[in-house]
Amino acid sequence: MLMTALLILPVLLILATLIHKGGSIISAEFLFSEPTNGMTAGGIFPALYGTIWLVAVALMISVPLGVAAALYLSEYAGDNWFTRIINLAIINLAGVPSIVHALFGVGAFVLFFGFGTSILAASLTLAIMTLPLIIVATKESLQAVPHAFREACWNMGATRWQTIRKVVLPNAVSGILTGVILEVSRTTGETAPIMFTGAAFFLPFLPESVFDQTMALSLHLYVVATQVPNVPDELPYGVALVLIAIVLLMNSLSIAFRMWLRGRKKW
């Protein structure tokens, strides 16, 4: 009980501080207008907009890839040295610091593939970074589906794919989605992987395609907090508050969603 309280306390403190110091600046105006006066005033719209883009494109890449990889590993591939090496690699990849992913992103996507610093390069970097976690979450929820269901299907002559589509996936989808939502919240806050690959310090216009650069909330926070002189105190706190709110919202959404699906699932 005490430990739980100790865990919650920092979260509450952070939130309270942010609301106290930055709450006053939050308004529709703040969310939907552009930074002005050398980023010392105005809103955060381009950064918010950019973050949504970055995360959305990253998900479009990492979710299909990750789910497909997990399906292969858990439903098709047997247990042999090859899959064991792959599994080991996935676990290790999950432990790689994000700055290393950033450097990889610069090398691979910005330079080698020639995407330049762009949303595409940054999202690809984010996708690579979240891929192992999506694979692990998906594999776990696939393996939580009792084996007896698969055998029952096979025995009736269902192919592996029919089994997956009709029985395994519908029962694993809650776990997969929870994993994905958690990933969204993590990706939203990442700064390192995007700052060299596609996120810009300041841009006077919104991105129009995935080949443009963009501003992003996490980087914007870093910039207004440390790089720009004469920023009013409440501005960085306001940005942080928006960022934290998105993360918390996503997390609660995923928890609520999980509980809802748990309640419906009976076997």
Binding site: A152, N155, M156, A158, K166, V167, N171, K266, W267
Partner: protein, 260 residues
């Protein structure tokens, strides 16, 4: 096709050996299981009864480390022939497990699951499917109990009803052979009796091979009986003969309860 396999045998095996990795679970199993009757398979725990059943519908293959040699013919066809379609084999053979394993779908979808997979080309209308489902549920004596809640989850039924449903869902694809692996052992006495009665009802329409630990059940409910020990077939004959005048000492020891 394999000429020597007589077609009045539902299952014919020839020197069937099976290994789980390095562990040999079946030794030179030669069996001729007659078409159209109920055959029971008895033997102490771990003697390979389930293993045998699972090789007949090739479900063991999903385990990468299983190795098989010898041959298994089902209705005169070697099911390990390269030109045999695995899905057609499985369609002919229905299997019932020890623990009822309905799918986490509605009762209706459970009964029609196999049908929807195999008969997609028939394009049956909803009412045709309803008829098929009703016939299957009637045959397992379940229709009256579930007709008002066909959209309820199958996993909410009692164990006895679940097991009957698991039998019902095999019927719409018209299998010839039903394999049952201790179908009553998870049920209470009343459920056991009901399912046994049902199996007896199905006699004549399907060839049934049933594994059981219940001597009385084997005796009551089967026409022929196979006794296995340590992966080998010890005795196979008319149930009456096996129980009353067993030829081998191991058989009488087992029947009188001197094995585990």
């Amino acid at each position: 096709m394999n000429e020597k396999a007589a077609t009045d045998y539902a299952i014919h095996t020839d020197k069937l050996n099976l290994w789980y990795g390095t562990f040999q679970a079946l030794f030179d199993v030669d069996l001729d299981i007659k078409d159209g009757i109920i055959t029971s398979l008895i033997g102490p725990s771990g003697c390979g009864k389930s293993t045998f059943l699972r090789s007949v519908n090739r479900i063991n293959e999903r385990l990468g480390y299983v190795r098989i040699n010898g041959s298994i013919d089902v209705m005169g066809k070697n099911i390990y022939d390269p030109d045999v379609e695995l899905l057609q084999v499985r369609k002919q053979i229905g299997m019932v497990f020890q623990r009822p394993n309905p799918l986490p779908l509605s009762i209706r979808d459970n009964v029609l699951f196999g049908y929807n997979i195999h008969m997609r080309k028939e394009r049956a209308s909803r009412s045709q499917k309803d008829e098929i489902m009703e016939a299957a549920l009637r045959q397992v004596l379940l229709w009256d109990k579930v007709k008002d809640r066909l959209n309820a989850r199958a996993t909410e039924l009692s164990l006895e009803e679940q097991q009957k449903l698991c039998i019902a869902r095999l019927l719409p694809v018209k299998p010839t052979l039903l394999l049952m692996d201790e179908p009553c052992s998870a049920l209470d006495p009343k459920g056991t009796e009901a399912v046994e009665e049902l199996i007896w009802e199905l006699r004549g329409q399907y060839t049934i091979l049933i594994v059981t630990h219940n001597m009385a059940q084997a005796r009551r409910a089967s026409e022929e009986c196979i006794f296995m020990l340590m992966g080998k077939v010890v005795e196979h004959g008319q149930t009456q003969d096996v129980f009353v005048t067993p030829k081998r000492k191991e058989t009488s020891d087992y029947i009188e309860g001197r094995y585990g």
